[in-house]
Amino acid sequence: MRKRKIVRAIIYLCSALLLAGVLSSCSSNQKNSSSSSGDASSSNRKVNLRFSWWGGDDRNQATLDAIKKYTDKYPNVSISGEYTGDMGGYRDKLATQIASGSAPDLIQVDVTWLPGYAQKGDIFADMTKYKDIIDTSSFDQNFINQFSMFDNKLLGLPLGINAVTFMYNSELLKSAGVNITDNWDWDTFITEGKKVHQANSSEYFLNINSQGLFENVWSNYVRQLTGEKLVSDDYVIGFNKQQASQGFALIKRFYDENIVQPAEEATVYDKQIQQNPKWVAQQFGGALNYGSNLTLFKSGLGAAPATANIPVVQGAKNTSIIVRPQSFIVINNKSPEKEESAKFINFLLNDKNSQLALKDTRSVPPTQTARTALEEAKLIDPLSVAIVNQALPKQGLADNNLSTNQQLNDAAVSIIQEIQFGKTTPDQAADQLLSQWKDILRELKDNQQ
């Protein structure tokens, strides 16, 4: 009686273990990543690459098309795309994969993530080692040096170019009597902008969230005042209390003079300002945002959308008009197929077929050849090219990695929220910001040593 019970239980246990064992063994041979032997030139060796990116339907389709053009040309290569539209989820997954050493061979990383990853130095491969494979001559060299070089290592190549711009509804602004010039300062921005709400009390000049107020208003204003980076490469803050306070006072004026919608109403859409019903109903003058977001914002810009450079302080030491990459493509340093990955990158960015397939799905293309090709084929919105062309000649000092650190960013954004809700004064905010940033920078410096 008792024996039977035990036997049955043992059978149960064994079958569970067996099942687990069988399942694990069938999965372990299904995913044998490509062998690393053999040189890149041999064209018959089977090569499997994994390429991950995030994006919407258009970008996914365009990237798959470009991949197909490559695998048609090199039938021994197969590239599996791993993509999702959810950028936040993508970032978390990438962090997990990198932490456990299973990231794909080719990875799209956001412009704000690369500096963080680059600090460690050996997560992504140095592309200067593949100079013979990847032709970088069609890129603007200064641009690459500024954004892609870390300790003399080329860690990524830009997939697109981006600039912050003031995109506006020219019909609405005209009827409110607002006069936009390309050479304006923040005072004009306010004195002109407040006409919108004066003309119609349900309309506002600027649609912006707390992140935008920090990134595109406060930071630019402070950099224009100081002519310095927000934080220097040796962890020193590049502005003083008075300058920070002036920046916060500017934001306070936005609210006092009704340039922007009251925080209590707008905060509901803080994460996706283009979903604000007032934006959809074209009751905003415009938005300060990246040119790559133009399609996202277009519905609120009316029949005649237009763009202008951001305002610049009179006598600024630096225009702070930033042209920067939209995202990068990098090679995983743990990839067994670094050379093959490099070959694919060269094709992706330099081959005309690939350029025409990718179109402007990652903002304006990074190379002159691609821009020309797309303009000739009429595959690009002239307004997005205009944004880049408008900004390039007035380009200011680019920010360094440290200044775009996520922790510094988050601390500043939450202080700006207190200004938005009128819970603190510009002076108090400046004190708070300096003390929090000093703490964070001390921590970051400690971790580096």
Partner: protein
């Protein structure tokens, strides 16, 4: 007469609260027919026109893989996971509820404790285990833990239900010559049918809707489940998200869960009341 009016009060109450419950579902369904501007800009529940194009277009997915793939993947992931979870939880919880053994309280607390550590921090060590086992990019990180009763919620839940049954049941069955396994299968499990069905429902719906774990463990688009498929066209960066398609597909993805719930909850009706226990 009093009977009728009391019933109608019940109905009015049920319908009034029910409207609040179902509103988002109806809104989502109707939003499938609206343009982006209409979704964000208008408070009207009804769309200005009806077209099934968003359903057809949404179903095509990425073009490379359609929702037919995603749905079948979801079933391949969810059904084994759910069945194994229910089986293993019933067996394990029986030991906790009915057997006496050393360190039982300690083991029980340990089991409950695993629910208390936030997922965000165990992700990386757990991912490393599955990666070392070469299980990443398969459904094994879902199925094997289910087989090994790794969801303490269900063990705890079944324990509570078993403990609601009188012990005399086991004892009389034991006298009748049943061994402990037979007691579990023939006596206790049938009496806990509502609980077992609930466990099945919960695990099915939770696994079906789970986004984060599927995102982390599944790489190949060919193995994507419906939740991953849904996020694929959510472009929060450069393009315009076709929200009507997202709504249409969100609607489609919850239909299996709603149907399953509708058919499964009927079995609640045959509870302990019909088994003649203590009667």
């Amino acid at each position: 007469m009093a009977r009728v009016s009391r019933d109608s009060i019940k109905y009015i109450l049920l319908i009034a609260v029910g409207m609040i419950m179902i509103y988002p579902f109806v809104w989502m369904c109707l939003a499938s027919f609206k343009s982006n501007d209409e979704i964000f800009g208008s408070l009207n529940l009804l769309p200005s026109k009806i077209s099934f194009a968003p359903f057809a277009k949404g179903w095509e997915g990425s073009g490379q893989y359609t929702y037919t793939n995603f749905f079948s993947n979801s079933f391949w992931l969810v059904i084994p996971t759910t069945l194994f979870t229910v089986l293993s939880s019933v067996v394990v919880s029986y030991a906790f509820a009915r057997l006496k053994f050393h360190f039982k309280n300690a083991a029980f607390m340990l089991m409950i404790a695993t629910l208390m550590l936030p997922n965000a921090v165990v992700i990386i060590p757990r991912y490393m285990i599955f990666n070392n086992l070469h299980w990443v990019d398969s459904y094994l990180p879902f199925i094997v833990p289910a087989l090994l009763a790794c969801n303490s919620f269900f063990i705890f839940m079944m324990v509570q239900f078993f403990r609601g049954l009188p012990k005399e049941l086991d004892e009389s069955a034991y006298i009748d010559g049943c061994n402990s396994f037979e007691i579990l299968v023939k006596i206790l499990a049938p009496l806990c049918k509502p609980a077992i069905i609930s466990a099945f429902l919960f695990q099915f719906i939770w696994t079906w809707n789970d986004f984060f774990n599927s995102l982390i463990y599944i790489n190949s688009v060919s193995k994507y489940t419906v939740t991953l498929g849904l996020r694929m066209s959510l472009d929060n960066e450069s393009g315009v998200t076709p929200w009507n398609q997202v709504m249409a597909m969100s609607f489609m993805t919850i239909v299996p869960c709603v149907l399953l719930f509708f058919f499964a909850q009927k079995y609640f009706v045959e509870g302990i009341a019909t088994t003649g226990l203590k009667g």
